[in-house]
């Protein structure tokens, strides 16, 4: 399994991560090694088997869509990296 430098940079960008020039080779080698190992799944006797999405069979668990108020605004805001007038502050988006 070969992964190109461009692919690594593309994937890192999708994941919102920077990879420094000097780290590319390491991530590339690690990823190739892990993917080579993970390729075993292609030899598994799985023809015709369905996909299992979760460990138990629960599916579409419904409940009423009721609003529950979380009152402790301060507890949330104390973790904000930057805030102003009880709001989260972020750089200009538009």
């Amino acid at each position: 399994m070969q992964v190109s430098k461009e692919e690594i940079l593309h994937i890192a960008n999708l994941a919102n991560l920077n990879i420094k020039e000097e780290e590319i080779e390491k991530y590339k080698t690690n990823l190739e090694e892990i993917l080579n190992f993970a390729n075993i799944v292609n030899n598994a006797p799985i023809d015709g088997l369905n996909e299992t999405i979760t460990a138990n069979d629960s599916y579409n668990v419904f409940r009423k869509d009721e609003v529950k108020k979380f009152e402790d605004r301060e507890a949330l805001l104390q973790n904000a990296p930057e805030k102003e007038r009880r709001m989260f502050k972020i750089p200009k988006v538009m």
């Binding site: 994937i11 090694e33 904000a80 988006v93």
Partner: protein
């Protein structure tokens, strides 16, 4: 008498007989932490003042205690379980200063019992690792030999229990993160059936695999703690709506007629010879106790491991998308626009192993590779479940080693991700299938390092594996024979 050497059920007995009071216990543990924490480094946060204050309140309230009361019993919590008003860091720079605004459901249950939280325990960053070396803060040492790892990712929890710094602890297990450190530290660790314990408030790593479970000194304590944390929770839609049980009642000290299957693939290539010898001796012990032990086949370990790393990383890449430096967590100082804020915060806030797994997860979910990896891995998941079902048609319990080796030296695997992943070979199949499994100590190797025995049960058959574990423990008496020596 040193109270920290006692199990929780022994402490309960002494409290009931009024030989000791609640604050004696907390004080004893705090002085033990003062003595041993500098060597073991198991805690991210120690809650000394809070614990002492609470123990005095509890003492005042509970002069007439019931037999099984857990009021005033201290506990340690893995640092990926949210505790209101207390830091929950996941041992990551990303959450170094994060104070939980709410409690996980398991913490609500512990508080309802009036138990006392002694502190938050170290782990591999975001529970990704098998040695606790990937913690951003510190390297937890194995109390049996301080030059070796405690296992991971719940390494702080297992080491703290082994070193008598907490009477028991909560860990979380996505691919072996309770059982493997329990095995490395010579204590008991249970991964419950997926859905038995609410995951609400557990910081998600791989949501379809994660479970919270107990790490304890013995099997009875494990049943006691499971009684507290098990149960349906509407805040976790994957939590199972099943009847509440008293797991201590399952401990019958009798395995006559119990059918145990031993998959030959789990005792073959790659399993250390001394580990194998201890497991074979345990098998002989079970036979003497009247269990019916047979060799069987469960040829899925390698497929399961490969599928585990695909599924777990895919889910992690999605779950960890929330850490973006906006509402909480680390925010980079260096950005000119929102995209740079995201990227720089994540790149500076996450450690290398976490980034590696996010990249792998993003890769296997990306266009063109989804079918080749993620879809195949989910088909393998069906295969693994089917193979377990076949085994459980014939056997009550499946017996394997918990880990292919005993605890390894620091640095011996941390630079080789694939080798570190192989440490999970005996445990991941259980998470892939969703079934419960317990690790109990079954001896030591020639260097005095503990060996773990894994007993796997069918879905919601915790009672069966707890009884099988208890019966072995009563016969083998590991805690009477061996003690961690804090060797340097």
């Amino acid at each position: 008498m040193d109270l920290t050497e006692l199990t929780v059920h022994e402490l309960q007995e002494k409290l009931k007989n009024k030989e000791i009071n609640v604050s004696d216990i907390t004080k004893a543990y705090i002085s033990r932490i003062d003595e041993k924490e500098k060597d073991v480094q198991a805690f991210v946060t120690v809650l000394k003042e809070e614990a002492l204050k609470k123990s005095e309140e509890v003492q005042a309230q509970f002069d007439n205690r019931e037999n099984n009361a857990l009021a005033g019993i201290p506990i340690g919590i893995k640092d990926n379980i949210n505790t209101k008003g207390i830091r929950t860091t996941c041992s990551s720079k990303m959450l170094e200063n994060f104070i939980s605004p709410y409690n996980a459901t398991v913490i609500e249950k512990i508080n309802e019992e009036n138990m006392i939280t002694l502190g938050k325990l170290n782990m591999d960053e975001f529970a990704m690792g098998a040695s606790t070396e990937y913690s951003y803060f510190k390297k937890t040492k194995n109390p049996w030999n301080l030059s070796r790892v405690p296992g991971g990712s719940s390494g702080g929890s297992a080491a703290a229990v082994a070193a008598n710094m907490v009477p028991f602890a909560l860990g979380s297990d996505t691919g072996g993160s309770i059982r493997q450190p329990a095995a490395f530290c010579g204590v008991v660790g249970l991964k419950p059936t997926y859905g038995l314990v609410s995951r609400y408030g557990l910081v998600a790593f791989a949501s379809s695999l994660d479970q919270i479970g107990p790490i304890t000194k013995d099997v009875k304590d494990c049943a006691i703690l499971l009684n507290v944390i098990a149960g349906h929770d509407e805040k976790d839609t994957t939590s199972a709506n099943i009847e509440k049980k008293d797991y201590t009642k399952a401990l019958k000290n009798d395995v006559k007629g119990l059918k145990i299957g031993v998959p030959k693939e789990f005792l073959g290539e790659g399993i250390n010879e001394e580990v194998k010898s201890r497991i074979l001796e345990a098998i002989e012990e079970y036979k003497k106790l009247g269990a019916i032990v047979e060799e069987c086949s469960l040829d899925i370990a390698k497929y399961a491991l490969a599928s585990y790393y695909i599924i777990a990383c895919a889910e992690a890449s999605s779950n960890l998308g929330r850490f973006d430096g906006i509402r909480y967590g680390y925010r980079s100082k260096n950005f000119n626009n929102i995209k740079e804020l995201y990227k720089n915060s994540r790149s500076e806030g996450f450690g290398e192993e976490v980034k590696r797994r996010i990249i792998l997860g993003t890769y296997v979910l990306s266009s063109g590779y989804y079918d080749a990896y993620y879809k195949k891995a989910q088909q393998v998941r069906t295969l693994v479940k089917q193979e377990f079902e076949k085994c459980f048609n014939k056997y009550d319990v499946i017996l394997t080693p918990t880990s292919p080796t005993v605890a390894f030296e620091f640095g011996s695997k941390s630079n080789n991700p694939l080798e570190m992943y192989m440490a999970d070979i005996c445990t991941v199949s259980v998470n892939i299938a969703g079934v419960p499994a317990i690790s109990i100590p079954c001896g030591v190797d020639s260097n005095g390092m503990p060996v773990g025995l894994q007993l796997i049960g069918n879905n919601f058959a915790e009672e069966t594996i707890l009884n099988a574990a208890y019966t072995f423990e009563q016969q083998f008496k590991f805690r009477e024979k061996y003690k961690p020596e804090f060797k340097i």
